[in-house]
Subunit: 413 residues, 2 copies
């Protein structure tokens, strides 16, 4: 007999940069009985999911589908499928997840050229374009929204420059997709990798991505049909075979095509969740959703400033879905976070590397991005800081946020 | 406004070799609100999951945890983490999934030695041991249960031989784990990779695995802490770095250890599902669960034979959770499968490669492995075959199965 207690998770207000609260409609979708992976009802849900992803990614790309794994699985799938050992890859870094792009590219055998700008800022696109001209890489990999620093890199000019030079630009949009515009086609992005657990408010475990015909052409040159499925007519790579079977986008594409060539067993319940998350998103409408993210961000920022705390990073390139706050001198950031969790059941985040212990990060993402949550976190943070003997103008934070919601700062709510 | 209809999947009787029906308790667990990945409540669920996996894998191994991906993600994680380019890997093949082990090992850069036995049979362990002595590989990879052919390879003697020669033996137990014994320690298996969507009756999307200290030692020699997290004291590989970040077991192990070094964002809802699936399994008890799988298999086999159909493959090495049936001459196998699905909402499987169109495969796995399902599939298959003008002794199949359940064939139910 098992000694393990029945699952009974506490209800949290999750205001981290992900994972965030899951929309109850998505939770319900997860609980539906499963279908077989080749059941026509299921493959039709797969097709609908692809169609909805096209709207999300603002693209006409044929290929928009999830990799079955957490967000970084999609990043690795794109990089390992595109990079041949020895390829030169350029990565401009402005936070932790730029380092991840370097790490994965290196493991794919790339010759990686990287350079870093000060954390808390982004690159002047011209600087990146100059580096692209100087190094002539075959691929540029960049992060769109850096949750580690709360910054967002403008990509349109970089995308245009890459297209002109016939260089592939692949973008980590895990933090931004569904919360702020990611204009795949208009910005000339060749591949874009998203995640479910942030602004889509679906649990972690799927990595929806999209890529265009330029990427597909490269994939096709490396395509080899899986052993045990191939016959004399099957594709065999002209170039070097992709170093992963699980992340081989040429095989995943076959599985997501009408050919439905067997690969993995699609993660049914997660697909249900993603499908429902996308339905919710399209019912709300992309513009309304982005506007909701903006207004809640403004209320949060007003509240944080209202209690006299300092924001971290360059405000002109602030990531709208993550707000970084400098931990005041003399305050133990982890003690504040623990008290928020234990007494208020609210989770906010710390950060990584050089920012560990120096900033808090508050997410306003997806279903978590709503008025009650912003007001709760502001009220609770104020109370916890007071309890930590920090001096602040009591009551101001929530009032400042309410002013924003009331449109008293020139903001239309 | 979205045009996509609300999710409303049909209720299926899923009698394939996976994915199979999910236990309703697991479906409920999937619908619980999520916790943050470093929330102490969540990390405690992660630890409980590891402890339950130890019981499932019949092991004292410290490391038992899921990779966030479908079953083959666990296989690739073990192979890419252990194989250095140029390593010699031996793969004895007796079905499609042996070919997958070759495919993945080749992509990891291994020098793969493989040999195949006739599909529908398994290897005499002595034959494999002779090949191991002859080729002296650094790693042997084998499938425990081949769903493509319905065969199960005895592993104990091969395991002992590998241990004596200090060769690593890694085993794909995706089909068998939770349905029939997988004795990790007693059989000297160094790494065992399972799946959720078969005998555990959890949706596809996680790959629970286990490995021992021999494997861990190899991992540690290749360990490099992730860029963006490492400092001067962090581990850097002595040997060649593992070619994948997502599948780097040395990093995953840090994430699952008390250090909780950040890697991916754990797939919360799937972890809930796995946790609940394992609770159900331990409440039933491994022995009772294996016995249940055996009795339903016997009833199914008796029914299939009762309607005069021929089983495919060597019965002495039959995989107890999958039953393969030769499609009678003159019958269109796909037409039968379609009618089962469309009229009876029952799904059975075809097979791959040389067996495509020649056999049906019926799974008796996990929650799907129950009396009512066996009786339904037999009755429906009989009716569909009659409808296809196949001659058979009407009524016999279900009666033969009922006889087994009634203990009339010397079987204790």
């Amino acid at each position: 007999m098992s000694n393990y207690k029945e699952l009974s998770p506490s209800l949290r207000t999750i205001m981290t940069p992900g994972p965030v609260e899951v929309d109850p409609r998505v939770l319900r979708a997860l609980s539906f009985p499963i279908l077989g992976q080749f059941d026509p009802e299921f493959t039709s849900l797969m097709n609908e999911t692809m169609a909805m992803l096209r709207e999300l990614y603002m693209t006409d790309n044929e290929w928009c589908y999830p990799v079955d794994g957490t967000s970084r699985s999609g990043i690795e799938a794109v990089l390992v499928s595109l990079i041949q050992p020895g390829d030169k890859v350029l990565v401009p870094i402005y936070g932790r997840f730029g380092h991840l792009l370097v790490e994965i590219s290196e493991r794919c055998g790339a010759e990686v050229v990287f350079f870093e700008t000060e954390w808390g800022t982004v690159f002047d696109p011209e600087e990146v374009i100059k580096a692209i001209h100087a190094h002539q890489p075959s691929l540029v990999a960049m992060v769109h929204g850096e949750t580690s620093t709360g910054q967002m890199q403008p990509l349109a000019e970089i995308g245009k420059a890459c297209r002109e030079l016939d260089i592939l630009l692949v973008v980590d949009a895990v933090a931004t997709i569904g919360g702020t515009p990611v204009e795949t086609d208009a910005w000339y992005l060749d591949a874009v990798m998203g995640g479910t657990q942030k602004c889509l408010s679906v649990p972690s475990g799927m990595a929806p991505l999209t890529y265009n015909s330029r990427v597909e052409k490269k994939l096709m040159s490396r395509k080899t049909v899986e052993r045990g499925l191939r016959d004399a007519t099957s594709a065999r790579a002209e170039g070097r075979t992709i170093a992963s079977n699980y992340f081989d986008l040429s095989q995943l594409q076959d599985y997501w095509s009408s050919a439905r060539l067997n690969h993995h067993t699609e993660a049914t319940s997660m697909l249900y969740g993603l499908h429902e998350g996308l339905r919710i998103l399209l019912q709300e409408g992309l513009d309304a959703r982005f506007q909701r993210h903006r207004i809640n961000e403004r209320a949060l920022v007003a509240g944080i400033q209202g209690m006299g705390l300092k924001l971290y990073g360059d405000m002109s390139s602030k990531l709208p879905v993550v707000t970084c706050i400098e931990i005041p001198d003399g305050i133990d950031g982890e003690s504040v976070r623990s008290m928020l969790l234990n007494d208020f059941s609210i989770e906010i985040a710390s950060s990584f590397g050089p920012l560990k212990g120096t900033i808090w990060r508050i997410g306003t993402m997806g279903f978590s991005c709503q008025r009650k949550n912003v007001l709760h976190v502001l009220g609770a943070l104020e109370a916890v800081l007071l309890r930590h003997r920090h001096t602040l103008p009591a009551g101001e934070a929530v009032q400042a946020a309410l002013d924003v919601y009331a449109g008293k700062e020139g903001v239309l709510c």
